[in-house]
C-alpha cells in the first residue's frame, strides 16, 4: 500500500538528488569536455580550438613521462598491496591470539588523510636517507619507491579487511573435503581459497588500481613532483599543467579527459577479466 501511495511521487523525491547530481557531476563533466576543446584563461571565457589541445598534449614530454611512470607505479603497487594484503588476511584468519588487535592496527593507517601520511613518510624517509647524504627527491626512483611504500602502508589494511571477509566466507565443508582428499596447504590455497575469494580480488584490484592511477595528495605531499616534475603522477601533472603553465589551461583540460578515458578503460577491462574468474557458490 505504501508503495502505491509513494509511486507517483517518485520523481519528486528523486528530484533533489537528481538536481545535485546534475550540478555536481553532469554539468562540470560536460563543461570539462567542452573546455578541453578550447583555449581559455578563465573557464567562462573560452574560445573553441578543436583538437589542437589533444595534439599539443602529446608534444609535452612530461606528460608522456607521467603516463608511463603512473602506469608503472600502478602496476607495482597493485601487485604489492594485494599480495601483502592477502597474506596478512590469511595470517589473521588462522585464529592466532590478538587477531582483532592486529586487524585494527593494520587498518588504522587507512583512516589518516593522504596529505598527512605524505608528510609523515617524507620525514621518515628523509631522516633515513640523510644518514647517507641523500634526500627523497634525489631522483624520481627514490620518490617512486617512497610512494609505493606509502601506498602499501595505507592500503594494505583496507584490502586486508575485504580479503578477511572473503576468506571467512569460504565454506568450511569445502576446506574439510579438500583436506580429506589429501590436498596440501598450497593446493588448498590455489584450488579452493583463491577461486572462492575471487569476488574480493576483483574488488581489491579495482580499488587499488583506480586509487593508484588517481593518486594525487600523497604524491603532492611526498615529493610534489620533485626533482623537476619527474616524480609527477598523472593527476599532479594535470593539475600543474592547468594551474602552473600560462596558456596551457586547455591542454590541462584535454589531459584530464584523456586521463578519464584511460582510467575508465583500464578499470572496466580489469573488472571484466577478474569477474570472469569468479565462481558461483
Amino acid at each position: 500500500m505504501n508503495k502505491k501511495v509513494l509511486r507517483p511521487y517518485f520523481p519528486l523525491f528523486a528530484l533533489p538528488t537528481f538536481i545535485a547530481f546534475i550540478i555536481g557531476f553532469i554539468v562540470p563533466f560536460g563543461l570539462g569536455i567542452y573546455l578541453s576543446f578550447c583555449k581559455f584563461t578563465t573557464v567562462n571565457d573560452a574560445k573553441w580550438v578543436g583538437f589542437q589541445n589533444f595534439k599539443d598534449m602529446f608534444k609535452d614530454p612530461e606528460f608522456i613521462h607521467a603516463l608511463w611512470y603512473t602506469a608503472l607505479f600502478a602496476a607495482v603497487s597493485v601487485v604489492t598491496i594485494n599480495i601483502f594484503g592477502f597474506a596478512i588476511a590469511m595470517l589473521l584468519t588462522k585464529g592466532i591470539r590478538g587477531t582483532n588487535l592486529f586487524r585494527t592496527v593494520f587498518f588504522m593507517p587507512n583512516l589518516i588523510g593522504g596529505i598527512v601520511l605524505g608528510y609523515i613518510w617524507q620525514l621518515i624517509i628523509n631522516g633515513v636517507l640523510a644518514k647517507f647524504g641523500y634526500t627523497l627527491t634525489y631522483s624520481e626512483w627514490y620518490g617512486f619507491w617512497g610512494m609505493v611504500i606509502l601506498m602499501n602502508w595505507q592500503q594494505i589494511g583496507y584490502v586486508m579487511i575485504i580479503y578477511i571477509a572473503g576468506i571467512q566466507n569460504v565454506p568450511g565443508e569445502l576446506l574439510e573435503a579438500a583436506r580429506i582428499d589429501g590436498a596440501t596447504n598450497g593446493q588448498v590455497l590455489r584450488k579452493v581459497i583463491l577461486p572462492m575469494v575471487m569476488p574480493s580480488i576483483t574488488i581489491c584490484t579495482f580499488i587499488t588500481l583506480t586509487n593508484s592511477f588517481k593518486l594525487y595528495d600523497q604524491n603532492l605531499a611526498l615529493t610534489n613532483g620533485l626533482p623537476s616534475n619527474r616524480s609527477e603522477l598523472l593527476a599532479l601533472n594535470i593539475y600543474n599543467t592547468f594551474y602552473g603553465r600560462t596558456g596551457y589551461e586547455g591542454i590541462g583540460q584535454a589531459k584530464a579527459v584523456v586521463f578519464f578515458l584511460i582510467v575508465g578503460v583500464i578499470a572496466v577491462t580489469q573488472l571484466i577479466l577478474t569477474h570472469r574468474k569468479e565462481v558461483q557458490q
Binding site: L6, Y9, T42
Partner: protein
C-alpha cells in the same frame, strides 16, 4: 487516512526540493559578501549596502601573504572614510595564479589583481584596463615601472625590490679577523675572483668560525629554486644583453654560461650541506640557516628582511653584496633591482567598480594613511613620486641597496621578466639540480638555457594554441 498519507508525502517531497532549490539560490546570490574558502580572506564592508549601491566596489586579490593583514587594515580605513566596500583576499603562498584563475571566473571577480611581468601579462592582457590616464601612471617615476603593451599601460609596479647576496655582518667581520683572511674589509670584495677566494677560505675555516658553511643550502625545492633558476640566471642574461646592447631576445646565446657555472659551483660546494641534499632543501631551510648563523652568505632580496628580523637578527647583522659572476666591469656592478609585482585593474569589471578601484588606488598612493601603510608598515620601496616627501621605506637591506646606488654603482635590471616562459625556468632548474647532484652534466644546463629559450620563445609567441582572433 489514505489522503492524509498522500498529503504528508507530498508535503515532504515538496519541502525537500524547496530546500535544495533554496540552497542553490542563496549560494548564487550572496557570493559577493559571503565568506569563501580561499585562504585568509575578510570583507572590510561595514557599510556594504551604501557602498555598492552608489559607486561600485573594490576587490583586491593580493599576492603577498606577508602583507595580508596590513592590506585588510588599509581597506578598512578606506571603507570607514568613504563608505566604499573594499574586499581584500590573499592567495596562499604559491597559489596566486590558481586562485586568480578561479576568482576571475566568478561573478564578482577581483577588480584589482597583479601580474609578475610581461610573460604573465600575455595571458591576462585581455583583462587589463588601460591605466594611461590614471593617477597611478601619471605619478609613476619612469616607464620602466610600467607594463606597456603598444599604446596601453596594462600594469603599474607598486613595489621595487632588490636582491643580491645577503651576508651576516657580524660573522663576516669575525672572519676578517682570522689569520690569513683573504681580505680585511667587505669593501674589497668587488669582483668574482676575490669573492670566490673569500668564500673558499671561509669554507675551509668553517669550524673555527662556528658555522656549517659559507653559503646557506641552495635548496631546489620549489620554495627556493627560483633563487637560482630565475634570480641567479638573471646575471648571465643581464651581461649578455649588456654586451649585445639589447633589451630582450628571441634567442639567447649563452655567452656568460661559464660564469653561471662558476657561481653555481661556488654556491653548491661551499654550503651548509652536500650537493646531493639540495633537492629537498626549502626556502625556510636557507632562511633559518642564515638567521641562526650557520652560514654567512644567503642569496635573497629585500623581502627577506622580515624573516631575518623575526628570526632574531638585528639591523647591524645585515648587509648585501652584489652577485659577482665575473662579467666585464663588474667592479661597478650594483645590486639587482626591479619589480615583478604589477597592479592591473580588471577591465571586465563594471565601470562603477573600475572607477571605485582607481579611486581606491589613488587614495593608497596619495593619502597619508595609504603612504604610511605601504612605506612604513609594509616596508615597500615604491616607484611613485607621491612618496618622495618623507615616505621612504627603511630597513637594513634597503639601506644597503641605496648605498650602492649612492656610490654610483650600476644596478642590475631584472631581465628575467623577459624569460620566455615558466617552463624555461623549470628546465634550467632541473638541469642545474642534476648537475649539482652529479646525475647530469653541465651541457644539459646549456641546452636548457640556449635551445630551451628558442623553443619556449617560439611556443610563447607563435602561440601553441590558436592565435588571438
Amino acid at each position: 487516512m489514505k489522503n492524509l498519507k498522500k498529503g504528508i508525502a507530498l508535503a515532504m517531497a515538496a519541502s525537500l526540493s524547496v530546500c535544495a532549490f533554496a540552497g542553490c539560490q542563496s549560494g548564487g546570490e550572496t557570493s559577493g559578501t559571503a565568506t569563501e574558502s580561499t585562504g585568509g580572506e575578510s570583507t572590510a564592508a561595514s557599510q556594504a549596502d551604501t557602498g555598492s549601491a552608489e559607486g561600485g566596489k573594490v576587490y583586491y586579490l593580493n599576492f603577498k601573504p606577508e602583507q595580508a593583514d596590513q592590506w585588510v587594515e588599509l581597506a578598512k580605513t578606506y571603507t570607514e572614510q568613504t563608505g566604499v566596500e573594499v574586499k581584500v583576499d590573499t592567495a596562499a603562498s604559491g597559489t596566486y595564479e590558481a586562485t586568480l584563475k578561479a576568482e576571475m571566473a566568478k561573478e564578482n571577480a577581483p577588480t584589482l589583481f597583479q601580474v609578475n611581468g610581461p610573460v604573465e601579462l600575455a595571458s591576462w592582457k585581455d583583462y587589463c584596463y588601460n591605466l594611461k590616464d590614471t593617477s597611478l601612471y601619471t605619478n609613476l617615476k619612469s616607464d620602466d615601472f610600467a607594463l606597456i603593451d603598444g599604446e596601453d599601460v596594462k600594469g603599474v609596479a607598486y613595489v621595487i625590490e632588490t636582491y643580491g647576496i645577503i651576508y651576516n655582518k657580524t660573522l663576516l667581520n669575525k672572519y676578517f679577523e682570522t689569520d690569513g683572511a683573504v681580505v680585511s674589509s667587505v669593501d674589497e670584495i668587488n669582483n668574482f675572483d676575490t669573492f670566490k677566494s673569500v668564500v673558499e677560505d671561509i669554507q675551509a675555516k668553517k669550524d673555527d668560525l662556528g658555522i656549517q658553511g659559507a653559503f646557506t643550502s641552495s635548496g631546489m625545492d620549489s620554495s627556493s629554486d627560483w633563487r637560482f633558476k630565475t634570480h641567479l640566471a638573471n646575471l648571465p642574461i643581464y651581461y649578455e644583453y649588456k654586451a649585445d646592447n639589447i633589451k630582450s631576445t628571441s634567442a639567447i646565446k649563452g655567452t656568460y654560461l661559464d660564469n653561471y657555472k662558476a657561481i653555481w659551483d661556488l654556491y653548491i660546494h661551499n654550503a651548509t650541506c652536500e650537493p646531493t641534499m639540495i633537492s629537498g632543501k626549502t626556502g625556510e631551510d636557507a632562511a633559518s640557516e642564515f638567521a641562526l648563523g650557520e652560514a654567512i652568505f644567503y642569496q635573497n632580496g629585500t623581502w627577506a628582511y622580515g624573516d631575518c628580523i623575526n628570526n632574531g637578527m638585528s639591523d647591524e647583522d645585515l648587509g648585501m653584496l652584489p652577485i659577482y659572476i665575473g662579467g666585464e666591469g663588474e667592479e661597478n656592478q650594483g645590486l639587482c633591482t626591479g619589480s615583478e609585482n604589477y597592479w592591473c585593474v580588471n577591465s571586465k569589471a563594471s565601470e562603477a567598480d573600475i572607477q571605485a578601484t582607481l579611486k581606491f588606488l589613488d587614495w593608497v598612493i596619495t593619502s597619508d594613511e595609504g603612504r604610511d601603510m605601504l612605506a612604513n608598515q609594509m616596508g615597500f620601496v615604491t616607484p611613485f613620486t607621491t612618496f618622495d616627501d618623507g615616505y621612504q621605506a627603511d630597513n637594513a637591506l634597503i639601506k644597503a641597496a641605496n648605498e650602492y646606488i649612492a656610490a654610483g654603482k650600476t644596478a642590475v635590471s631584472w631581465n628575467f621578466s623577459t624569460i620566455p616562459s615558466e617552463k624555461w625556468k623549470d628546465n634550467v632548474g632541473a638541469a642545474l639540480l642534476d648537475y649539482a647532484q652529479g646525475t647530469g652534466d653541465w651541457s644539459a644546463v646549456q641546452t636548457a638555457f640556449v635551445d630551451g629559450w628558442a623553443t619556449e620563445y617560439a611556443a610563447a609567441n607563435a602561440g601553441t594554441e590558436s592565435p588571438d582572433a
